[in-house]
Amino acid sequence: MNDIAVKLRRNQTLIITLVVLFVLYIMAAQGMSTKDWVITTLRGLSSGAVIFLVAAGFSIVLGLMDVFNMAQGTVYMIGAYAGWSVYVRPDTLIDLLTPLALLVVGFLLNPLWNNLLDRLNLSHRAVQVWPWVGLILAGLILLFALPHVPIAVWDWKDYQDSPIVWTQNFTRGIRTSLLEPARFGDISPFIVMGGILLGSVLAAASLVGLQRRNRAASAPRRLPWSTFVPALVLAGIGIGAYLFNDSWTRFLLDLNSTLLFLIAIAVATLTGAALGGLMEIAFIRPLYARPLYQILMTLGLSAIGIDMVREIWGRNPFMLPRPSIFNGSGEGCPATSLGGWLEHHCSTLSVTIGGKAARIRVYNEIFLILVGVVMLVVIWVLIQRTRLGMIIRAGVQDSEMVEALGINVRRVFTLVFALGVGTAALGGVLSGPMTGLSDQMGGNLLLVILVTLAIGGLTSYPGAFVGAAIVGLVQQFIIKYGQLGIKLPFMDEPFKPSPPLVPASTVLLMVIILLIMPQGLLGRKE
């Protein structure tokens, strides 16, 4: 009993703040019908779910590595665009597989390069010079080889071939008639592929050499055969994507759009994770001792990412079409029961709330919330119940000691960065059918997740969840009141919050909460 009293007193401010927020939420029902209140709540939770995915990744990375990843919003955007590309243009994906897989092969063989360099007894001068020569050579080879890889891709400068038209065609069910497979030109495909492979091997070995410059050589060891398996598998995928290009593309094109959507989600998440891993290895790792530089670096990367998206997909916003399972219409729709939905896959459900008929959009207002809750549990289990999570929790405090236990902390860092950035990409592709894709989406969301985490507590995982729910709800209620108007005392006309007040209101809330609780709702006291 005493324990509970002590805990209550210690968390007094938190409890009072949460109660006040809850009362405000209930009071919000006064100005609107129960139906509107329920629907707005669902909308708030669904945008909260997307915010949560991106914010959770940000906060895990911040907690373990003290890195403010300002590119999180951009990866969220790239996730959406990558998802769209897989979903609407699977042929582009298959064409890209060949060069991408071959490019990575060399880097998967890094242990081999390390081992070979251990065996070579190079002079001091050679050790300093050869990696640079190798890198330049690799760059030249890749510069020659990569442009020769044919990739069937849209072209935003030509309206008929732009993502907007592709999206429209997809929505109408036209998915195959326009495709013309890209073919290799005059140069033999095997020379091109060999060139990419050579470039990748040379680049990887040179980078290994660069890292070893100032370190004493260690005694060479025998490598187990399993070292080569991932590289061989990837090379197989790359060459397979060339040899069986047509049949693989055909396979994806003939897939049910729901399955294709699942593949798009997976590819987008993996793309985000790969980008994250690459970012950590190449740009963040040299800057661990310099927090400010990390922020500038990630901001710079984010600007580059936005420009690349504009260059590839164009500036015009478009939608990611909903998969068939959430897009049914016509007879039997909107469904009035779960059974009816299962039968017709309606895009909306019709329900009666408070005596009024209401329509709930299945994808936005049910599916996204479910995904948010599932991911909440999955990440929680990962952190609290797995060995990786244990290492993360320990590493937050003292990564040197974790390393001294024989754990490869650098790899764990890369993994966590990939995970954190991957969840952002997942959020991006999932929000595609709800909010659409635009080159603005990342920047807007970055501000929202910073506000979310400031409210919830920067590195607190439950805080990310609570913050995301609060921010999502506040946004949606302000939007709804912008339509309905709030009756305020001393004013004749109801007050209608204009759209710019939506982000402003969350920032205002953040300011108030930070004044009361400087570490955020669930943040740890310093």
Binding site: A216, S218, M390, I391, Q397, V402, E403, L405, G406
Partner: protein, 236 residues
């Protein structure tokens, strides 16, 4: 090859930033023995342990462990070869329970289960505390946990930094007993400020002064060598 020494450190030089911290340290640790690194504060004892482990990799010199050269390898690789580390300030993980603090040190599945008897035999207190979070332990309990953590994996060598620091005399006694018991199976390289503790535990010593190993020998001889003790350790 020298089979007698489990660990051989030969003339290592270590830099931290621009500072030349170790300027030639040589240490030999025979299999099954306890060796103490002695010296004043800031002499480079802790850095020597960290250089062996690769936390502050040496720029020059050789470190041989179990017949293999290990300098230049990454810390986790070196540790996985069978070196356990008990750092200066214990470094107990606060957000992990006592059980998790032990579990995280596993290198193979079931390590902890296999070593449970040994660990709880040495430190019966830990069994009672197993569910508590790391923050709730007293200094002495944290020290026990830190040593226990180094025992979970199959380590041939333990690097123990200041085991007696900040402990009450009763606890020092208990810690010494535990380390002595351990040395029956493992080899120990110890950093110890408390000369009385060091002289009772270790069989041989290496004195480090301003980043150089200046003197080494059998502990029994050092105890009588008033002049050396006075000159390098500043103790009576």
């Amino acid at each position: 090859m020298d089979n007698h020494n489990l660990l051989k450190v030969r003339d290592i030089h270590t830099f931290i930033g621009q500072f030349h911290i170790l300027q030639g340290v040589t240490v030999e640790v025979p299999k099954g023995s306890i060796v103490a690194l002695l010296g004043r504060n800031g002499a480079g004892k802790t850095t020597t342990l960290k250089s062996i482990l690769g936390l502050t990799p040496p720029r020059q010199g050789q470190v041989t462990f179990d017949g293999q050269e290990i300098q230049g390898r990454r810390c986790f690789e070196i540790a996985s070869m069978g070196i356990g580390f008990v750092p200066e300030h214990r470094a107990i993980f606060r957000d992990l329970s006592v059980a998790e603090n032990l579990k995280i040190a596993e290198r193979k599945k079931g390590d902890l289960a296999r070593k449970e008897e040994l660990i709880f035999g040495l430190f019966p207190d830990l069994k009672r505390l197993i569910k508590l979070p790391g923050t709730h332990l007293s200094g002495g309990q944290q020290q026990m946990l830190a040593v226990a953590r180094a025992l979970v994996a199959d380590n041939q060598l333990l690097l123990i930094d200041e085991p007696s620091e900040g402990l009450a005399p009763v606890l020092i006694e208990q810690m010494m007993k535990a380390i002595r018991q351990l040395s029956a199976e493992t080899t120990v390289l110890l950093v110890e400020q408390n000369f009385i503790v060091a002289s009772q535990l270790a069989e041989s010593y290496v004195i480090i002064e301003e980043g150089r190993s200046v003197k080494s020998g059998r502990m029994a001889d050092l105890a009588d060598d008033r002049e050396t003790i006075h000159r390098y350790l500043g103790a009576a």
